[in-house]
């Protein structure tokens, strides 16, 4: 199973080296990969439908409990078959759609990475590895949306999509970690047995919110939906594959996967029903105002995702059944419509619904595919779409609570979706062929066979629902922890409320299609609402964020060394001072202090004099020399208190410091007054506070009880074990020699840094502006 998941990644890697062989006529050969994967997963159907769950675990980071655990149950199987099946058709279609494109190999590589990531996502049993694959799908989606990287709109849409789904990925990681700490395991299978404990946990709501955050962003639920229409900038095969059939359903998958673990609570169901209902209605209404075919399809996809979320929220066996069927329905007809749109776009050069008409005369097979898909989308018998719609209505009429509202919302959505499906699948092919399209040619078979195949499947499954009943649909319901034994799919359910609702939907929908024609006037009208849409609000937010961060950077990263030092010192003073004030146990035992000798007094006076001279002198060299005096006075104090090693080192260092200062200051202009009176007082106070605080800290350290064991050990063993009498040096080169080794490495790095900064700097003439 690991090989199956990694195959996509390996193929992408292979394309890096062998890409140029796959650009030409061989491109279609690459579709062997998804086809073989499809066959591989299809071979599991008998075992899965008999109720088996196939598991494989590979150790990855066992110390953190992160394993590559994969499990294949009904839900994963349905998604895997969709990913590889539609993937296969998209691979085939692309070979013609992007024929002789300069970066066709690159496109296939991204597509393969995506396929691998998506398979990993739906097969992962470990939430952490699921998160990794989740992010990989976002990243591959980013590259695919921005595939036409010379177009600014593409790049912008890619960034928006990455931003939104990246935020969702972040939310998934947070949710995964929280769930992992709540359950004590990252395995979803193991979490199943802890349902009650998790639902009663104090962080339950928070974990659910994180999971929702991930699912709603990925599946483009309101108010995060706007990245999906933007993502339509991608080449049509990508829109088909990622942004309609598979990736956007990852959020739905996540919700379904977690339904047995976290679902069936009031919060879970209410939120999903409301968000799903708002999304499906909001975007279904939006389809009325679009003239771009892909725009219509994008909004109807969002609406379909809303229906799925809504059905998961209903949470009954019937609702899950409807969701499972609707996933298949939607994948079949929406992929067809996208592929048909791609053909129209490529052959006629436009996607504008208002001008497209009568194309059936020039591309009959494509028209058949489009019309069949539209029928399935509308839910007209005998398509599988009818079955899906019936089940959806059935589930909503049997829901609890505000049944009327729920049923009204879903019926209205379905009416509008029927309109959208007709606009995309029927409108371009019916009516009179305009003059300018009379020269439009029929595309190659590799382009019209895939959509036709999908469209025909939609009808075949509708007439023979037994084909998918026990192989695909029942295992999904079982995977969601519901009993699936009494499920029986059939087109004819008898004459009941649901059928009446269906008839109303179809009649009203067709009337709407006949009387309301898509026009630019309508599109402009909705454009006026743009400033209050979530997209514009987010744009404004990012703008303010950028402005604020610029301001913030200018305040702190202002390029003046003196300001940096002030900030650092001030921060330290406040932080250390705050802790110090609360915990000070400063006691100075006067009896322990020794007598002050005359030379100590003399050195201290010199030291203080040096400090004052440094601060108040008007000569730079004088200040440096005075600093040297201060340093040497400290050296003398070290000598008095018997620390000769320290004194020697300090002495040499001080000498070198003075030399360095002189070297740097020698070339500077004469002493300039850069600070005014007030600033000096401020700096003075700050310095005094800082110095005072450090002195207090030093005294505090002395007041702490000293653990002398370590010192005793070194003193005792320096000669015995290390043959040295100078304990300080023995510690440096022997006992703690590794520290010293690292320290001298740091020194060397510092020297290389100085050398690099000063010697290798770019000349101002070469510097880019």
């Amino acid at each position: 199973m690991l090989t199956a998941i990694l195959l996509g990644f390996l193929f992408a890697l292979f394309l890096v080296f062998a890409g140029k062989f796959f650009k030409g006529k061989l491109a279609v050969v690459s579709s062997i990969i998804p086809l073989s994967l499809f066959i591989y997963f299809a071979s599991f159907i008998p075992r899965i439908s008999s109720g088996e769950v196939i598991r494989r675990t590979y150790e990855w980071v066992p110390s953190f409990g992160v394993n590559l655990g994969f499990s294949l149950d009904g839900l994963s199987l349905l998604f895997s078959l969709m990913i590889t099946g539609i993937g296969f058709l998209v691979y085939v279609y692309t070979s013609t759609y992007l024929k002789n494109h300069q970066y066709l190999d690159r496109f296939y590589a991204y597509l393969s990475v995506f396929m691998g990531a998506m398979l990993g996502l739906v097969l992962s049993d470990n939430i952490i590895s699921m998160f990794v694959f989740w992010e990989l799908t976002s990243i591959s989606s980013f590259f695919l949306i921005g595939f036409n990287n010379t177009s600014e709109a593409s790049r912008k849409s890619a960034l928006t999509a990455l931003g939104i789904t990246g935020f969702g990925g972040f939310s998934l990681l947070a949710g995964a970690l929280l769930l992992g700490s709540m359950a004590g395991t990252y395995s979803i299978t193991e979490m199943l047995s802890m349902k009650e404990a998790l639902a009663g946990h104090e962080f339950y709501i928070l974990a659910v919110i994180f999971i929702f955050g991930a699912a709603f962003t990925k599946s483009a639920q309101f108010p995060f939906h706007f990245w999906l229409p933007g993502a339509m900038k991608a080449p049509t095969p990508v829109s088909t594959y990622l942004h309609s059939a598979t990736m956007v359903k990852a959020g739905v998958y996540l919700l379904m996967r977690f339904t047995p673990v976290l679902g069936d609570t009031n919060f879970w169901n209410t939120t999903l029903i409301s968000v799903g209902a708002i999304t499906m209605l909001y975007s279904a209404v939006h389809t009325l105002f679009r003239t771009d075919l892909k725009g219509v399809l994008a909004y109807s996809t969002i609406s379909a995702l809303g229906i799925l979320v809504f059905l998961i929220g209903l949470g009954s066996q019937g609702a899950f059944l409807a969701a499972a069927v609707f996933i298949i329905v939607h994948a079949l007809y929406k992929a067809t419509l996208f592929l048909v749109t791609g053909v129209i776009d490529l052959q006629s050069g436009t996607r504008n619904v208002t001008v497209l008409a009568g194309l059936r005369k020039v591309m009959m097979p494509v028209a058949v595919a489009g019309i069949l898909a539209a029928i399935s989308s509308a839910g007209i018998p005998p398509s599988i779409g009818f079955l899906g719609k019936e089940l959806t209505y059935e589930a909503s009429t049997h829901s609890t609570g505000l049944v009327i509202v729920i049923v009204a919302a879903i019926v209205l959505t379905k009416i509008l979706l029927l309109y959208a499906g007709f606009v995309a699948g029927i409108k371009p092919f019916t009516g009179k062929l305009p003059e300018k399209f009379s020269e439009v040619k029929m595309p190659g078979p590799l382009m019209w066979v895939p959509p036709l195949l999908l469209a025909i499947l939609g009808i075949v499954f509708g007439i023979f629902p037994a084909l998918i009943e026990s192989s695909l649909v029942k295992p999904v319901v079982t995977a969601l922890s519901k009993d699936a034994s009494d499920i029986h799919l059939a087109l004819w359910h008898g004459f009941n409320t649901v059928l009446i609702l269906s008839i109303i939907t179809i009649v009203v929908g067709i009337l709407l299609y006949l009387f309301l024609k898509p026009s630019e006037k309508l599109e402009n009208r909705i454009g006026k609402l743009e400033p209050v849409s979530p997209e514009s609000i987010l744009k404004k937010l990012t703008y303010f964020f950028a402005v604020f961060s610029k301001f913030w950077t200018n305040v702190f990263q202002n390029g003046y060394l003196r300001n940096y030092v002030t900030t650092i010192v001030l921060f330290l003073v406040i932080l250390v001072g705050y802790i110090f004030i609360g915990n000070s146990r400063l006691v100075i035992d006067h009896t322990q202090l020794s007598q002050i000798t005359a030379y100590e007094l003399a050195v201290t006076i010199i030291l203080i004099g040096g400090v004052f001279y440094t601060v108040f002198t008007r000569s730079r060299i004088g200040a440096v020399a005075a600093m040297g005096v201060v340093g040497l006075a400290i050296c003398l104090l070290f000598v008095f208190y018997s620390a000769p090693d320290l004194a020697m080192t300090q002495f040499s260092i001080d000498t070198l410091t003075v030399i360095l200062f002189v070297l740097v200051l020698y070339r500077l202009p004469k002493y300039l007054v850069l600070s005014d009176y007030k600033m000096r007082i401020r700096d003075g106070i700050l310095s005094l506070t800082f110095g005072g605080l450090i002195s207090l800290l030093a005294l505090q350290v002395l007041a702490e009880p000293v653990n002398s064991d370590i010192g005793d050990f070194y003193a005792k063993n320096a000669y015995l074990m290390a043959h040295g009498k100078n304990v300080v040096n023995v510690i440096l080169v022997d006992f703690r020699g590794t520290d010293t080794l690292i320290e001298i490495s740091v020194l060397a790095i510092a020297a290389i840094g100085v050398y690099g900064l000063l010697k290798l700097r770019v000349k101002s003439s070469d510097r880019p502006n």
């Binding site: 030399i659 290390a722 040096n729 020699g737 080794l741 001298i744 020297a751 290389i752 050398y755």
Partner: protein, 137 residues
Amino acid sequence: MKTLILKTASNYLLPVLLVFSVFILLRGHYLPGGGFVGGLIAAIAFVLHAFANGLDKSKDLLKIHPGFLMPVGLGLAFMSGIAPVVGLDDPFMTGLWFPDPFPVIGNVGSALFFDIGVYLVVVGVTLTIIFTISESA
């Protein structure tokens, strides 16, 4: 700062200071001193020479760029640490000693080579920084 006295003195001071720095390095194991201080003193000796005679003269005297002393020193220090691992399968940085003391130098062990490494790194670092800054100032 081209004074005749300093110039003359520095020519004599340079070898004396260098010998002194080696002396400090070697006595470090028994009395105050060691590779770090020794390296600083050697660096000061060269800086003094550069002050009196000009940077170019000191560079000619050194023959190689002082920066090359850094990898040599680091390598020496590292090898003195790794030697027991390779030779005797002991832990890293185990002290190895010759059984008998050498005349003048005293006991010689891996710690001494480590200290020589420190000495070289310190000379290299200090001179690299000071030479670089004084050249570009």
